[in-house]
């Protein structure tokens, strides 16, 4: 909303603040100044102040509204321009029917004859130009001028071209209409329109149509000003892709009561500038009268919420400056009636806001630190675990990346390894990314390809984020960790596997096993792809990406963080085993031979179970491939046993194998 400084000054008696000061004051009280321009207006230097008006202040999409704000802020009287009175020639009404009773809240209309439509005077053309509105003709320009001054839009129709009654109704058919600016619009149904017997005359609250439009030759006019249910205007405006000054205002909450003043101002301005005679009484469709709200208000509330002292006198003055009426029942109970155009004031907290914003928030000092009270810690475990993962991986040279969870269906299919269905969005404007990722690997895979293309490796990356899916109509959203490494032939799966296992061991999960991945996809080498298992739980997946080129390899692992958390929760809080300085450690080696199909990992896990009491560590120190088997040298370290006892246990365990 733009306002001309001198207009505001004229309406606020005694105003001495500079245009910059007014802009700053309005900014602080809820209307951020987003432009400031020196202009020429009525042959004098003036200033055009651009203000951002928030959604709940439709009353301030007008010069009158802003002037009222300025007057309230400075505590000065408001003197709005008044329209001249007029007399009515005939006692009839304009023939109107409102069929869209849910959408139309109020219609004011009358007929004026013998108007002279001509070119607008310079002041009017200049005024509209400052609002980027082209001058059309005097009558049309007056309609626009009044809208900017009062916030209320109006339609003017050429009475001689209107066939029968004017009807407000919701359109139910597909049809084409031509607007005033000669644009053709296809109506699909559901639009609020104004029509006569034969033609659509206007898209109500948005734009007029060419039929019955005002021309220079027009002498007899119907003037209507209406207020609608804002949602229909917003809906129609959006669906048809038409935003006008009128629709912008009528898609906000507008006072039905304040429409009287605007209508009076409109008729008075027409008669004053285009002449004419009012032919009918004011038709007033107003089925549900807006009643004044009375709000119970505790005047101690502003101080309590702000944390500073505000006197009742000060509060009372601010509310009176806003033209709010106060009935002081007692010291803690006032009955406050907001001014008619302030539909945003509904509760005591709304009144608090009025008091505090006009008192300015910079009156609330904030040099002292907030009071610190001990409140319960409700941080979920998942947060700490993710932070620990990040620390571990960055300490191990992995870079964190973030990628977008909305992806193409193609990349989802390429790397998905879960048995979920895809979750698809219904209205993303970005057609390339309609699906939610099923694997955290979508972003990492793209990175691997990108880095390969640019020849930037070796590289280690990870990402933590949400993955999504559907299973039996249930939406699944789970936290996931993806890890990838890309490098030359020096990189090995074993090394990568060890990185992942170290991470898991960091959370106490050391008994990890692998199971062949039963699902194939385009990204993984199917012969190098496994589920990562902890007991019967599938913790994630580990795979080698299909060869990128001869000399470049890449590995990928994904861990389901929610499952990891579930596993960690099962662990007891038993302290770790420790060794006393005086405890003896005995280290003994053993050679074992396993056939090619046997897993050394399983063997060790079994041996560890047998040695549980006295085992300190058990590791493979050497392996040698034979024809049908592999020979391993294991080193077992026993704790708390004599040499002889350790040897005896060693022999017993490994001779059994």
């Amino acid at each position: 909303m733009k306002v001309i400084y001198s207009q505001i000054k004229k309406m606020v008696a005694g105003l001495t603040a500079s245009p910059q000061e007014i802009g700053e004051a309005l900014t602080m009280t809820g209307f951020m100044m987003d432009s400031f321009e020196e202009i020429k207006w009525l042959n004098k230097t003036d200033y055009l102040i651009g203000l951002e008006v928030r959604q709940n202040r439709g009353d301030c999409l007008s010069v009158f509204g802003i002037a009222k704000e300025v007057a309230a802020y400075y505590g000065l009287p408001l003197e709005l321009p008044t329209a001249p009175d007029w007399s009515v020639k005939d006692k009839g009404f304009v023939n109107i029917s409102v069929k869209a009773t849910e959408q139309v809240k109020r219609v004011l209309a009358l007929r004026i004859s013998n108007v002279v439509n001509k070119e607008s005077p310079e002041w009017l053309k200049e005024f509209l130009a400052h609002y980027d509105i082209n001058s059309i003709s005097l009558l049309v320009d007056i309609s626009n001028y009044v809208m900017i001054m009062t916030g209320y839009a109006s339609h003017l129709f050429d009475f001689s071209l209107v066939n029968g009654e004017l009807s407000w109704l919701v359109n139910h058919e597909e049809q084409k209409i031509n607007t005033l600016d000669k644009t053709t619009i296809n109506l699909t149904g559901g639009e609020l329109i104004i029509e006569d017997k034969e033609n659509v005359l206007a898209l109500a609250g948005i734009v007029g149509c060419s039929h019955a439009a005002i021309e220079r030759t027009t002498t007899d006019i119907i003037v209507e000003m209406a207020v609608y249910d804002r949602s229909i205007i917003k809906k129609n405006s959006r669906s048809l892709g038409i935003t006008t000054e009128a629709s912008n205002r009528l898609s906000k909450e507008m006072s039905l009561e304040a429409a009287d003043l605007a209508f009076q101002f409109l008729i008075g301005t027409i008669l004053d500038n285009a002449g004419g005679q009012v032919e009918t009484k004011v038709y007033d469709y107003y089925p549900n009268k807006e009643s004044a709200k009375i709000i119970e208000f505790n005047p101690n509330l502003p101080s309590a919420l702000a944390g500073i002292e505000l006197s009742h006198k000060k509060i009372s003055q601010i509310l009176k400056n806003l033209y709010f009426k106060i009935n002081e029942k007692d010291k803690s109970n006032w009955l406050v009636t907001p001014s008619i155009e302030r539909l945003d004031i509904e509760s005591a907290e709304d009144i608090v806001e009025e008091v505090l914003r006009l008192n300015r928030y910079d009156a609330i000092t904030f040099n002292a630190p907030p009071k610190i009270e001990v409140y319960p810690n409700i941080t979920p475990d998942s947060w700490y675990i993710k932070e620990k993962i990040r620390d571990f991986l960055t300490a191990n040279s992995f870079d964190e990346i973030l990628s977008q969870p909305l992806v193409s269906e193609k990349i989802n299919k390429e790397i998905n390894w879960r048995d979920y269905d895809m979750v698809i969005t219904q209205n993303s404007v970005n057609d390339e990314f309609p699906a939610l990722r099923q694997s955290i690997g979508t972003g990492l895979l793209l990175q691997v390809k990108e880095h390969r293309k640019k020849n930037v490796f070796p590289l280690a990356m990870f990402e933590i984020g949400k993955v999504f899916g559907k299973k039996e109509f249930e939406i699944i959203e789970t936290e996931s960790l993806g890890i990838t490494k890309i490098g030359g032939n020096e990189l090995s799966l074993k090394e990568f596997q060890l990185s992942v296992e170290k991470l898991l061991a960091n959370f106490g999960i050391s008994l990890v096993e692998y199971k062949k991945l039963p699902i194939s996809n385009e990204a993984f080498n199917q012969d190098s792809a496994w589920f990562i298992m902890s007991g019967e739980v599938v913790l994630g997946v580990m795979a080698k990406f299909k060869p990128l080129t001869k000399d470049v390899k890449a590995y990928f692992a994904e861990i389901d963080i929610n499952k990891l958390i579930d596993l960690i929760k099962k662990f007891s809080d038993e302290p770790l085993s420790t060794i006393e300085l005086t405890n003896k450690l005995v280290s003994l080696d053993a050679n074992i031979e396993l056939s090619n199909g046997q897993s050394i990992r399983s063997y060790i896990i079994e041996a560890e179970k047998m040695m549980a009491e006295n085992l300190w560590s058990l590791s493979v120190i050497d392996e040698f491939a034979l024809e049908d088997s592999v020979r391993y040298t294991l080193r077992a370290v026993y704790c708390g046993l004599s040499d002889q006892a350790a040897k005896a246990e060693h022999l017993e365990i490994f001779s059994l194998k």
């Binding site: 944390g307 910079d362 009270e373 040279s397 964190e400 880095h451």
Partner: protein, 338 residues
């Protein structure tokens, strides 16, 4: 079979390099007794070999170690040659370090601050319901945020991708009895075209406090501490009135433009101030919807957009960089490097 203890006694008793050399010949030389015994293992049955093999190998290993150490003790030149043999060269490779994403770094710094003030850190789902993304936040049915043009809906009815981290506020209010103090960093989605300065995915940082006698002064001083932490002690901030359905009264915290110091420049669009987000006292309707007595409890909430902050801090000119991979990290550079 001789034991390692017996060998050790003999080695300890040796007084010269010659005596040690004799012991070497005796046990470890070509025809030394231990070597011979090891060679003889193959003559034994499987059972005997399994029993005796590991023990014998261990005695052999320990004997070698004992005698070598004793030899070195008689020869300084022997020690030198052993050390030389043992010496290793430094690598020419430089250690790489991992990096956290700039968004994570920033979130961590903020979390650290708020944790020190007793805040919990909260997170929640990204696929939300209309109820928790809008209704419980006092957002009217016809608010533009609910439009298809602004919100990304998924095919399943009544589910959407959260447009604001205020949904975490709504769920925390529903799930935890007051008092509490939380901050909630998170990813949000809006239906926008992607280009250099706009993305349909960005990052928010929400703060919520609910307790007794919470005031706007607490809110302002909390945000003042945050801005000072992030931008330095000389940062200038202001609070102006701003409308959000979730709060009443609502405020917009602004920071004086660090580029032009309030004079007006392209960064601040000529106004001298940079909008930092939205804040205010939690609307009593929201507390009531969560079953919290708004006569007893009050609270404040704030929501800040992280992307612009981080872009300024890391001098990132294209918002797509955040979700576009890690080519920007220098392998050997760390955030707090010397």
């Amino acid at each position: 079979m001789i034991t390692i203890d017996e060998i050790k006694k003999q080695v300890d008793a040796a007084d010269s390099a010659e005596e040690v050399s004799e012991l070497w010949q005796k046990y470890l030389g070509k025809n030394g007794s231990l070597k011979t015994a090891v060679k003889g293992l193959k003559e034994l049955s499987d059972q005997e070999r399994r029993e005796q093999g590991p023990v014998l190998q261990e005695i052999l290993r320990q004997a070698e170690e004992l005698i070598k150490d004793k030899q070195i003790s008689f020869s300084s030149s022997g020690l030198e040659s052993k050390l030389k043999e043992d010496a290793e060269k430094l690598s020419n490779e430089r250690a790489t370090v991992g990096h956290l994403h700039p968004i994570t770094e920033t979130v961590r710094a903020m979390n650290k601050l708020f944790s020190s003030m007793g805040y919990s850190i909260m997170e929640e789902r990204e696929i939300e319901t209309d109820e928790f993304c809008f209704k419980r936040l006092n957002v009217p049915d016809d608010h533009s945020a609910r439009d298809m043009q602004d919100t990304i809906y998924i095919e399943e009815p009544n589910l959407l991708l959260r447009t604001q981290t205020s949904s975490i506020e709504a769920r925390t209010l529903a799930n935890f009895p007051p008092p509490f103090k939380i901050v909630a960093p998170g990813r949000v989605y809006r239906n926008e075209k992607v280009n250099k300065s706009n993305h349909f995915i960005f990052h928010h940082y929400q703060g919520v406090v609910v307790g007794e006698n919470i005031t706007m002064r607490d809110l302002f001083s909390t945000l003042a501490i945050l801005f000072k932490k992030m931008y330095g002690d000389d940062v200038i901030i202001r609070f102006r009135n701003k409308y959000y359905p979730e709060v009443e009264p609502g405020v917009g915290p602004d920071m004086q433009c660090f580029s032009c110091k309030g004079k007006g420049c392209s960064l601040c669009k000529g106004v001298g101030w940079i909008e930092m987000g939205g804040a205010g006292m939690i609307h009593p309707n929201i507390l009531e919807m969560a079953g919290i007595d708004h006569q007893k409890y009050s609270g404040f909430a704030f929501g800040l957009g992280l992307d612009r902050w981080v872009m300024a801090k890391y001098k990132i000119g294209d918002i797509r960089t955040f979700l576009g991979g890690n080519l920007a990290y220098k392998p050997y550079q760390h955030e707090s490097h010397i």
